[in-house]
């Protein structure tokens, strides 16, 4: 049969089933009315059959119809995006840079054209490894489509297109509406049972009555039992009809999917893969039971209810099917996952997290010597090369707290254009971002680094070699560019599922605690990274109410280490330190020796400083800037250090602007750092 006759058949059987359901509801109302009439007539002398009927019929009708309408409108008010979000969906940005999600967005747009419907909101269920999808929403305008991560990873483009087309036809055929109405009716019938139960409970708990009222009690028991039985039997049949309607709508949606795509094999192959997943294909979300009827394949293990058997569905789509389910091999070579764009399957990856492997930018290679000069900085950081080793280094204006101006935007753009496009592309992929950050933060110690990468690789399911090479993507950059590069990576990391972030946070934390080389810049950067990862689940309970006055000791400790990082001699360090103190209005004091300043102590200090009110944090950062900028020979790298410290106390500042120094700058290379 072609899809048109399948559609016709499915629509007709739905009509019959709905008629049956309406008939059922009417006869239930009739039976309940009869029961009430009989009880009223026998129970009280005041009621004639006609008056009893006049009371009972409207009461029953209003009760059943009213309950079901209320229930329907409850469901209706939610809207598709609400349902999708309640299942744990994350909305997909149609301008996403993630290849798999971009492909999903593209496919949704394609089917919107094919079906003539508006483009719905699209959600990904990140925590669901099975293959499934759902559509929700009362009308085409408020609809949402959700896809599990498993479907994104394991279906190829054609199959995913079939699945999306299926979901579109649920929206287009008004299935969400039909299903919502049916849920309302089922609820209305079930309410009769509830009334019956309440009556019986009332009687059970009521105090002993006098014998005069025995007749009333007996009548109440009769009413309760009667309602209970009618309700239970009615609900059973209503649920059967509900399931039957749902199954017909699934056939209809399968047929319509073929109408949209003109390709039965896409959706057919997707169903074959689902069959191959077997019992692993359950949906884990808490709301899955309620929402089972919404899904592409039955979300529950038992396929009794809402979906026809996979074999029936496939047989209708692909008459030549051999009856064999295929188990999808997760990310195996050869089986091109739908995320194939931008990835190459194969070596370098372990575990099932990543669909393939993002190709490294050219130049980044495992085992390539790490440019230690850019990483093991420290107290004697060379001024950045600019036009030659003897060129004067630019100095920078103090940070500004009033938000970025045009000059800052321009400066950011200059910095960004210095990061090669390939590197930026790499860092914009989730996998690339995670790998690069881990690789960059691992130790340079030739003994420690392999160990660290091994441990971290297990945490984020990537090969150590890949992490090693990916790290150089960031570390090979000029240090001025490392913070902007990490900003780019953070953006991609924010899009990763929660558990990835936790694992990444753990990996960075481990790296930090097993570190032996002391490099202030990198160390603070790691802290910033950790904080950004933790902020993902900030519950808003942090209050910012301490002031700088209460935290002088902490501020002084940070200034001391900044002053010493920045200077080559004790007197210089003392001057820088004094500059910082005077910037926040404290009298000069001797700078504490560096031995007293452990990273642990700075760590705690920054933690507490980040809880200050905004004005205090601004003052604190001004002091830090004074310490670093004091010697008028600030390198671009030191300017970045100020930003990192500012970020560490939750006060992000725009890039520092170089000061044009006319008497020193050579005309060709004025304010910019490096081209």
């Amino acid at each position: 049969m072609d899809f048109q006759s399948h559609q016709e058949e499915a629509k007709q059987s739905t009509t019959k089933l709905i008629a049956l359901l309406v008939l059922g509801v009417l006869s239930i109302i009739a039976v309940v009315t009869a029961l009430l009439v009989a009880l009223l007539y026998y129970g009280s002398d005041e009621f004639q059959p006609v008056t009893a009927l006049a009371v009972a019929a409207p009461v029953t009708t209003i009760a059943v119809v009213g309950t079901s309408l209320v229930k329907s409108s409850q469901i209706k008010s939610g809207g598709g995006s609400y349902v999708a979000a309640s299942m744990g969906g994350r909305q997909v940005d149609f301008n996403t840079l993630d290849p798999a999600e971009k492909q999903l967005a593209n496919i949704v747009e394609e089917i919107a054209i094919a079906s003539g419907m508006p483009v719905p909101a699209v959600f990904v269920l990140d925590d669901e490894p099975g293959i499934n999808a759902f559509a929700a929403g009362w009308s085409a305008d408020s609809a949402a489509i959700g896809v599990t991560r498993g479907a994104l990873l394991q279906l190829n483009r054609r199959e995913l297109q079939g699945v999306i087309a299926h979901e579109f036809s649920h929206i287009g055929n008004g299935d969400t509406r039909v299903k919502t109405r049916i849920i309302g009716w089922v609820f209305g019938i079930a309410a009769i049972t509830v009334v019956g139960r309440i009556l019986l409970q009332q009687l059970w708990w009521a105090p002993r009555r006098r014998s005069k009222e025995d007749r009333t009690a007996l009548l109440i028991v009769a009413a309760g039992v009667g309602l209970l039985v009618i309700g239970a039997v009615g609900t059973l049949f209503a649920r059967m009809i509900q399931a039957a309607v749902s199954r017909q709508r699934e056939y209809l949606a399968d047929a319509s999917a073929v109408q949209y795509t003109r390709d039965p094999s896409g959706i057919g192959d997707a169903l074959i893969k689902i069959g191959g997943m077997g019992r692993d294909n359950k949906v884990r979300a808490a709301h899955a039971t309620e929402a089972n009827h919404l899904f592409f394949a039955s979300a529950l293990g038992a396929s009794f209810a809402t979906h026809p058997s996979l074999k029936d569905r496939i047989a209708r789509l692909l008459p030549d099917w051999d009856g064999q389910f295929k188990r999808p091999a997760p990310a195996a070579p050869g089986e091109t996952p739908s995320a194939g764009a931008g990835t190459s399957s194969g070596a370098g990856q372990r575990g099932g997290w990543w669909p393939g492997q993002v190709v490294l930018p050219t130049g980044a290679q495992a085992g390539s010597p790490i440019d230690t000069s850019s990483l093991v900085g420290g107290g004697s950081a060379e001024p950045l090369a600019q036009g030659g080793p003897t060129a004067p280094s630019p100095t920078f204006e103090p940070p500004s707290f009033g938000g970025p101006t045009d000059a800052h935007v321009e400066r950011t753009r200059t910095l960004l254009t210095q990061i090669p496009q390939q590197t930026q592309d790499f860092l914009r992929t989730k996998q690339g971002a995670v790998a690069a950050v881990v690789g960059a933060f691992a130790s340079n110690d030739p003994q420690l680094r392999p160990q660290q990468l091994e441990v971290a690789g297990r945490a984020v399911s990537m090969e150590p070699d890949y992490l090693d090479a990916a790290g150089t993507v960031i570390t090979d950059l000029d240090r001025t560019l490392q913070l902007p590069a990490i900003d780019i990576a953070l953006h991609a990391i924010r899009q990763t599922p929660y558990e990835y972030k936790v694992a990444l946070g753990q990996a960075i934390h481990d790296l930090e605690s097993s570190q032996s080389d002391h490099d202030l810049f990198r160390w603070v950067l790691r802290r910033v990274m950790l904080r950004h990862l933790e902020d993902q689940h900030d519950d808003g309970s942090v209050s910012y109410d301490t002031s700088l006055g209460e935290l002088k000791v902490e501020a002084v400790a940070v200034y001391a280490i900044l002053a010493q990082f920045n200077s080559s001699g004790t007197s210089q360090a003392q001057d820088a330190f004094d500059a910082a103190l005077s910037a926040i209005g404290l009298p000069p004091e001797p700078v504490p020796p560096i031995e007293q300043l452990t990273f642990d102590r700075i760590d705690r200090a920054l933690d507490r400083l980040s809880r200050m009110d905004r004005a205090s944090r601004e003052t604190f950062v001004s002091g830090a800037a004074a310490a670093v900028l004091h010697d008028r020979k600030t390198t671009a790298e030191e300017a970045e250090l100020i930003r990192v410290v500012a970020d560490a106390v939750r006060l992000p500042v725009p890039p520092l602007l170089p000061v044009v120094v006319p008497d020193r700058a050579d005309p060709a290379a004025a304010p910019t750092v490096k081209s």
Partner: protein, 212 residues
């Protein structure tokens, strides 16, 4: 006599209503066709915009495939020209015919380019290329789906326009024919197939099936 006049007036009014209704329906159908064509037009423009990027990306890897690349560039130039000539008016039958054949040629040239690109693993691994391939695939699909819809609308319009009473009006009021759009490459435009039994070069994929 009065009865005759009344009947006449009623008839005239009825005919008037019929004329207005038919005219309005014709306009509605024609607008649907134009709207459907606008949908295709957007996607065709997108396809044309993607090609310079594609050529730029591919060029570095495929220095030996100059002819294939030039074919794509030429086909794009011709197709862009044809698109401008049509300028959103699907009743311009000659321009539509040129558009159909030049887009068909472009689709064929693109298909060959992507087929050849399969043979370059470095190129396939290039992330830019992967993104471009995905963009091209989705654009091809959108063109295909939009064309499906367009041809349905043309079918509705043409059928209505050529049925009996409307056919009288359509010509009087200048409702022109709309052209069905067939973007497949015309067989006669293909190069002669050279049969050789040791030839293992990959087959060009059908349009709309570029990713698999």
């Amino acid at each position: 006599m009065i009865i005759f006049i009344v009947v006449l007036v009623v008839l005239v009014v009825l005919v008037g209503f019929f004329l207005v209704a038919t005219y309005n329906r014709l306009v509605k159908f024609r607008e649907r066709v134009r709207n459907a064509f606008a949908q295709i037009d957007v996607q065709l423009e997108r396809r044309h915009d993607l090609i310079p990027n594609l050529v730029e990306t591919v060029k570095g890897y495929m220095s030996h495939e100059r002819e294939t690349l030039e074919a794509v560039v030429d086909a794009r130039a011709a197709a862009t020209q044809a698109r401008i000539e049509v300028s959103g008016d699907p009743e311009n039958l000659e321009a539509m015919a040129r558009l159909a054949s030049s887009e068909g040629a472009l689709g064929g040239a693109l298909g060959r380019l992507l087929a050849v690109a399969e043979a370059y693993p470095d190129l396939k691994a290039n992330q830019n290329m992967a993104q471009l391939t995905e963009e091209l695939t989705t654009t091809e699909n959108k063109i295909a789906f939009a064309r499906q819809n367009y041809n349905d609308q043309v079918n509705g319009y043409q059928t209505y326009k050529t049925t009996f009473p409307p056919v009288l009006l359509a010509n009087t009021f200048g409702f022109k024919d709309s052209a069905y759009l067939d973007l497949d490459e015309k067989p006669e435009k293909r190069d002669n197939i050279q049969v050789s039994f040791d030839d293992t070069s990959p087959q060009p994929p059908r349009p709309g099936d570029l990713s698999d």
